[in-house]
Amino acid sequence: MSTAKQSLARLDDLIDGRLMAKLDQLDVVSRKIFSGKLHGERRSKRRGQSVEFADFRPYAAGDDLRFVDWNIYGRLDRLFLKMFLEEEDLSLVIAIDASASMRTGEPDSFDYARKLAMALGYVGLSNQHRVSMLAFNEHGVERISNLRGRRKSSELASWLLRLKPEGGSGFDAAMKTAALSRLGRGVMIVVSDFLLREGYERGLGMVAGRGFDLFALQVLSPQQVDPTREGGVSGDLKLVDSESLGETEVTVTPALLSSYKARLDGWTGGLRQWCARRAVTHLVVESSLPVETLMLEYLRRRGLVR
């Protein structure tokens, strides 16, 4: 695994025109219908200022007089307000793990996470959703909020390209920040490897209960999934933890590999079960999987996009 990597530098590195054209047909789907802040292209439960009539209600002091139905007033001499079905926007929040552990693997997990975030963000922007992104590590949370419209793609891309993964994950703190932020209600996608010493339960629990339609995308490098792949581990090694810099001396034997795989399965399986119990969609993504395939097939199949 090389540590000196060719990092992403341009918008095209994150998302190319061909992919954009394909993504233009997609939309982010929430299994819940949330009320947004702006009029969006999404039908909201909230009755409001759309053209589609929903109901009447009696006038109350302070109501906007523009919505009084004067015809009814003429007939019944009572003030009624016309109520419409309002078309709302969707809040799409993408949280990216920017810890050092993401800067490993071939292909690099962090680059993959940024590409994925860009693709999802582009879909959100294209569909006039309110797109916010968080990048978190132990140094804190960096965010870009409330982008809307396709023309914000370059701003989003610039923000993503500026991110630098380092240090520990600070997962719990980041999730807490996200939960407390006024990001509105909508779809939240957490992109991380979820290999967290402190555990993922507490952090995810904070956002899972806040009305987000939550997706946990677990990005693992091929070498993390199968260490015997090229660039993996073999022989007598001193393994250095990319975040804590702690060292572990191992002699890679079939028994150890088999134990590692069992451990990894146990870890991801545990995450999947935890998510299932809380209506969180969990998906393991290998960083070798093309983003296009992921978006057009996997995520569509899992109902994140349509």
Binding site: L239, V240, S242, E247, T248, P254, A255, Y260, L264
Partner: protein, 667 residues
Amino acid sequence: MLALTWLTPFAGALLAGIVLPPLLALWFLKLRRRPRIVASTLLWTRSLADLRANAPFQRLRPSVLLFLQLLLIALIAVAIAQPESTGVVDSGGRYVLLIDRSASMLATESIDGASKTRLDIAKHAAIDRVHELLGGGFFAPRAGDVMVVAFASRAEVRAPFTDSVADLEKAIQSITPTDEETRLGEALEVARAFSTNVDPDRPDRTVAAPARLELYSDGRFADLAQLTLRPMESLVYRKVGSAKDNVGIVALAAERPADRPDDVQVFAALVNMNLEPVSVSVQLALDGQARAITPEPIAIPAASLGGAGGTEFRPGSAQVIFRPIAQPRDVVIEASLLRKDALASDDTAFAVVPPSKRLRVLLVNSEGFVLASALDALPVERVDRITGADFDALLASQAPVSYDLVVLNNYAPKFLPQGRYLIFGAAPPLPELNVYGTQKDVWCRVMREESPLLRSASLDELYVGSAIATRPSKAWEIVAEGADAPLVLTYDAGDTHAVYVTYDILESNWPFQRSFLNFVANAVDSLGHAGEAITAQGVRPGDAIALRIPAGSRQARVTGPAGIDATPKVDSDGNLLWGPVLRAGLYDISFLENDRTEPSTRRVAANLYSAAESHIEPVAEIRLGVDAVSAAAVTAERRSSVWPWILGLGLLILILEWWVYQRQVRV
């Protein structure tokens, strides 16, 4: 200075050469773990914990690595035990190495195309044994002390008890071969004398266990029947050699025929030690010049096993008689077998023949023609005749008697000086004859027919009318006697040799019998050459050369075979003594007489002449009293330690194990 002994320098260097580079490689490749950055060691540490959680006990699974590691440890264990390729290494205590250097140890053994003498092989084996006992090597406790005794017919301590390998090796190397016979008794006595610690208060008990005796020999000992092992004594017999093909000369004699004193006739006795008949040609050389060879090879019958149980070895034997060779001068005769066998020392024999000698005889009182004419008929230089009175006068003048033999015919002088006498009739003035009268009418009743005097001279028909009656002491030897008193006696004391016939021949019927002439001839021949063999007396290896040379001789020197050049001891009377003679062959003793500038030379032949030593086949088992000691064979190959090789193999297995391990972890 500390003497270092390297037991296996070659193996050590080889081992270092083979093992060190891979060892370094292992160190670099294996012990230095490569650092590798991974996303998280979380799962790895937990996986390791899983693996370790299964320890220490788990179901044993078949594993090549496990097998190799077990094999490696087993090999190291075996190597530490220091196995050797032959024999058993034991140590501790005291050892006496008895190395046989007798004639049979000069037999050559063919080993890997090279020939070595048994003595060389024995020395080699003894040195190896010293290294085994004292050389140490890894983990080996040192033995106590080792003593080296070389022996043949005598024993010599070559190194007293010591633990110095260098000294012992030097002592063993210095052992030279001899042509002596093998006698173990003295060697055992010497070993016991040095190795037995006796408690001064309890002389019947030894303080410590006797040293262990190790015998390097082919096992042919002349004195074995008289030897026994003492209680607590242990003897290891290390048999040396295996060759048995040998034919040897066990006797060589030369004679000048009485009727042709200028000729030399040579007789040789040969023995065949092989169990099949052999034919061998014998060459005769005079003064180093080949002069004769047997016209046809001499067939010697095979040796046989006879006696009770077929254990008695009887060599095949044959005699060779060469045609007389004209040789009036003194000469050295060398007989050689023209056949190659394992032992060369007995294939050649020497005999030194003095110049031909004719006797000068003095006949005292020549009355009566019978005796005079009998003497005249003999092949002597001359016979002088004088009367009794003249003889007395001659004795009185004290001039040296220059005759080889004096014949007293019925005449008794007042005294007789040293010399050789044939006496008839009147009783001579010789001691312990004890004359007590006369005997009448005597017939010869008893005679010693084996006496050389009576060769072809039977006295059965002899009648004596009157003889002098004597009762001699044991200084006299009776050759023939009548009913009451001896008729023919011999006297040998110092340089006086006499044959006494107790009657006047004219008082008997003897002159008419053929036996008379034969008797006179026998007596003159016997007395005339008494004290000197026809061939000059030789010596046997192990004996000393003793010669009488003119008094006052100077610069005496002995030169002999195998480069022997020594100065003998000579006393003021001219008695020369040098010895012991260790090697068979021809010895020249040169000296300067008083008034001469040219050195005089005498020659002495030393011959093996031992059927026991010629029988070179090594004995498988020797019996000392009731103890049978079996042979532990000794070969010329160096007894080598096996453990360095085992250790080397172990290291190879270690490398293999590492390779297998690497293959497994690379998956």
